[in-house]
Amino acid sequence: MNATTVETGNEQIVSVIVTALEEVLRQELTDITVETRLFDDLNLDSTSVLALLMTLEDALDTQVDPESLEQAHLESVGSLAAFLAESR
């Protein structure tokens, strides 16, 4: 795991997201940055996003309301981190 977390202010959340992504995708992820795109770069699909959200709920001890999650929030690791930071 080697997440670049510059300038997000959400370093801890980014780190948790990368670990959750590794769990959901069942592979080690290298060179993940806040700009890494969830669908376009990591090939997540709808089902894996749902699994990711549940894994993140556990890891961050928070609740995510799926209906408040818009496509833009799932654009990249950074945008998801910002959404999670705001909803905590």
């Binding site: 795109r37 969830l38 669908f39 376009d40 090939n43 997540l44 699909d45 709808s46 089902t47 996003v49 749902l50 699994a51 549940m54 709920e57 556990d58 609740q63 309301d65 799926p66 209906e67 999650l69 496509q71 799932l74």
Partner: protein, 460 residues
Amino acid sequence: MSPPDPTFLQGVKSACTGATGTPFVLLGNFEVEDEWARDEVGLPVFGGRASTAIVNRMDEFTVLLAGPGDHVVLKSAPDSDYLNYLRQLGIELPGILLTDEHDPAATVSEDALRSPRLLAALRSLAGQGAYLLPHGMSVLEQQLCELTGLAPALPAVSVVKAVNSKIYSRRVATDLGLPQAVGWECETVDEFVAAAGEAARAVAAGRRVGVKDAYGVSGKGIMVVDDLRRMDQLVRMVTRRAERTGDQRVALVIEEWADKALDLNYHFTVARDGSVRFDFVKEALTENGVHKGHRFPARLSTEHAAQLVVASERLGARLAADGFHGVVGVDAITTTDGGLLPVLEINARNNMSTYQTGLQERFMGPDSVALARQYDLRLTGPVTFAGLADRLGDLLFDRERGTGLVVNNFATVNAATPEPGDTRPYVGRLYGLLLARTQQELTDLDNAVVAAVQKETVHV
């Protein structure tokens, strides 16, 4: 090879309109489930820009299902070299109508409804007796019929939607005594909570269960649960939503996961008079529950094949009694203990396998084996069909040889091309039907195509 008489499509025309020669307007509104699910409460669905754009360009599959007397509605014009390639294969193409505008985020039906020029052309075809055959019938296609006067080839939306619910599939299988996985149909939050409690016992005993949206499409609205914590989370998510909205309805199914040997897709056509035509059975290729293609003929015992024919007759009769006519695909599996579960879900709409029928009839001989599949591409810029054909060379299907790859959708390759100025790599999808004489030849051909298309693109 000459296509059979009547062809698959002529049979559909006869079943849906009473005459084999009825002109059709075909509309490839893939993932019509999203429309059916609009008023339902299932599992949340998430989609990226690129996958939505690609699914919306699956509309081009209709070109190879329609006949020369038919029309198809597409979101944008096919690559002219692609059309020439199809003509060179001896395929008689349908008339191609385009929506006035093309929004990559919109389905072909949404684009069609805001296309005055297209609607005028469709009105003219309606005057000549054409019927609309959509991929599946939802309120959007019904509106299109109302706006243009095209007669719908399929029944009313309420009927089509009802028979496409996974809850309906399970209840019909129960009524008909067809074997199915242990499971529960849930229409209220209370029913879901109770079913989740039962399913948790299976999970605790080491089995896996699937929680499915009643209107989920391949790869969406499904969660495989193999630990209790995940089941608890799902229950909390469903109950939280109900508390927030005050809506106690859900449309969900929970099923124990059977030990699968083979995924199958079988297909039949129900006529307005209630008669049922069995069409075919194919192996379905799936990856983590997501549809990836078909292999046929299916490597299936005669006994299981016969059971599917009987299941088709019984399911078809039931669908007809419930007011449905049209094509139906059913997902089934054989199990590792030698059993057959003939009804995983009923899809009373066109299936991916439906769109292969024209090529099958034209190019598959008695000794052919076929693989229909998708190649996921990673692109740095638009690809032309001519460029791709150069790259594939002799791997493309040759009529004399009777083997090779037939591209059956090219629009999905460039569907997700980003806005100018965005230089980041993006995804594309190439669909093809591979024909060979032996399984080994088929595997070799597939591997060679993978190598060729990866050279064309940036390797993931």
